[in-house]
Subunit: 458 residues, 2 copies
Amino acid sequence: MGIKKTIIASLLVLGFSVPGEDDLVIRKIFDAALNEGHAYENLRDLCKNVGNRLTGSHGDTLAVLWSEKKLKEIGCENVLLQPFTTNHWVRGYGDYGKIVLENEEKAIQLLSLGSSVGTGDKGIRAKVIEIDSWDDLKSRGKKVEGKIVFYNRPMNPKNVNTFESYGQSVDQRSKGASEAAKYGAVAALVRSMTLANDHNAHTGNMNYEDGVKRIPGLAISTADADFLHEKLQSEKSLEIELYSYCKNLGTVETNNVMGEIRGSTFPDEIIVVGAHLDSWDVGEGAHDDGAGVVHAMEVLNLFRQIGYKPRHTIRCVLFMNEENGVGGGVTYARVAEEKGEKHIAAVESDAGGFTPRGFHVDGLDGKAQKAYSRLSSWSPLFTPYNLHYFKQSYAGTDIGPLKKNGTALFGLIPDSQRYFDYHHTMVDVFEAVNKRELELGCGSMASLVYLIDKYGIE
Amino acid sequence: MGIKKTIIASLLVLGFSVPGEDDLVIRKIFDAALNEGHAYENLRDLCKNVGNRLTGSHGDTLAVLWSEKKLKEIGCENVLLQPFTTNHWVRGYGDYGKIVLENEEKAIQLLSLGSSVGTGDKGIRAKVIEIDSWDDLKSRGKKVEGKIVFYNRPMNPKNVNTFESYGQSVDQRSKGASEAAKYGAVAALVRSMTLANDHNAHTGNMNYEDGVKRIPGLAISTADADFLHEKLQSEKSLEIELYSYCKNLGTVETNNVMGEIRGSTFPDEIIVVGAHLDSWDVGEGAHDDGAGVVHAMEVLNLFRQIGYKPRHTIRCVLFMNEENGVGGGVTYARVAEEKGEKHIAAVESDAGGFTPRGFHVDGLDGKAQKAYSRLSSWSPLFTPYNLHYFKQSYAGTDIGPLKKNGTALFGLIPDSQRYFDYHHTMVDVFEAVNKRELELGCGSMASLVYLIDKYGIE
């Protein structure tokens, strides 16, 4: 044993740990992200100069051009658009609603749900039935006919992970209109998917069941939902008047955008870093999913900045149409399979630009377990950055379709407490994102991709 | 082995864990905090109806009365005020400053530092020397005479824990004026202690060295500090004009406020939960330290709500004068020693109302190590609440003086990324605090106190 090794061994015995190469690379990645990162200014640019970007909108076109330009600026090779055709829905202008009480009228904050039909100029005016469960709806039966069904089951505040609460309540939004229509309802009004008590309506997608009459579905703010609930206790016969102008316009062509750093050793083996480029058509899509877009771009940028040359091809994929169709994710996985491309891993960020806490991992046929073991073995490398939470679980909507191609899937887990304060609202704007929290997400994504690139996942 | 035990053993073999009594109590604590907690509305009340509350101000008096009333409402016994005398400093109105350039003047955002003398009506107008280290100051020597010294060493963005960066830079604020005065400077202008680039001046306390001339010390916003730095590159002879009206008014009497739940088994053994009631005289002291105040109160409230009867006496102590004197913390520890009170532990929250990450632990003569081991053994109980970070380190300013009494000290660690966006500014207001993040802090504090109460710390 040489002197150097003796010293290292002695230090280890004494409880000192000597930083290894990985510690140093990851430190460089975080230093660059926190000190000279581009993510925050990229996000400002996307939010303020592109704005919101629902599939098929003018913002969609701008966002695709913006991404193409940015990926070229980073120095990516093979920057290209991947076209596909998907449903085209537009909100129209002037969604409006009010509660008509015996002695007063009260305007309410609402937003049509994505994919909903509108009421048109004639509007809808009807009595209201408040429903707190599917059994409740069923038991009302014929009483629902001609009424507006008001789904008011709140998100559960007791879950520490707010996405669990979302998952337990979002069925009201996704299938509420069709379920109500089966009993003859004329519209569905859904309590906004948020744990906050405020005046923002939270939109989001809904689905119509084939063969069931299509009635309008709208989200109502939690403050107005609470007001309505209270008024219904004393005035059961109050009415609501609704106007909405959204339309399904058939189909539209849009694009995923991608660019890559070619691998030095395994150029035909791909690691995807991705997020979704589209957003809802209110606010600026800052946390959902502008943050993810700049996270994913920044992975490539940070590798350039610290001079890291990946062995596998690192491909940044910005998926369009996550919000109302997932056409981007499905198209990407289909084309990858047709081309016989080998995707060893995909890493997605679609849970906001908050302080990162860890990663989800997913995959088929034991792939998730292997990837989880590998991830856990890297845990000491993540500890200095307060990344401590690793879980086998759903990793992301856009990369989901790659699962059947045998790809190991990873999802960034940011702190979830504030996510549903902004989600799908007009207040999901650049100013809601903290610079350092965003940058720590970039460092986390890039460090994970570095480790996957270096060690693989099995 | 009975059937019940067999089932439990089988579940364990299968990898299920059966929640124990502690899991269930802690789940109850968090459920109550997240679903029916009082912390958020208490914080609103403190911020909006008391407002800021610097020692000796009208807000100080209001805050003491408010706390006394709140602790009685919770049902505390022995609610009492603990008076002490400390320094009395007031800002006065109309702090103002501008950069006088060759062809223009630019007003700058500034705030006098706590304990500073003012310039008075005559103001100060002088040339500026920018300093980036103490060696730099020393090497300027006589050139400093008659000048305003501009300390512009930024907080280091590369530390993940922002308090580390604060600790590495705050010497400019605390001793900058006296160090500059030794070389004949007429005032010290200190870059605000924040990682954000914005227009808020961040105040905070400074100290004068005995026997050195007292010159004014003021904080300048980071945006203006960057502007000034840039202008100094081309116009070295630019001048700054400063007006400030702060004064040291001698001494004033103020109070700590406390209340307790008496222990059922060991009423003479005390666990303190504390925070500081005073704040700076700008903004509303929401994160610093209104959040801590309502965290500490809520521990007692949550115990009442879930029907937990502690074995030791749990005493909520709201310390006055943390910001500019620590008279409250020193007085409390002195009186405790005089009375021969036994304090087994003290838990403080003074790092904001952000998502909690873990706890610091501190103590004398091996006490810290023992408390740390105990805390680590509870780690699995904290995991469901994403509390993962336990560290032997400084635990809090107000409880610090209890260390010599042999008390084990614990400090809540919230996520630190946004803390210095608000710290000591006019934007540290109620609206900057997220309800759920605050409530998770309450659950964390109460769970820790529950475990200390049940198991002790050795």
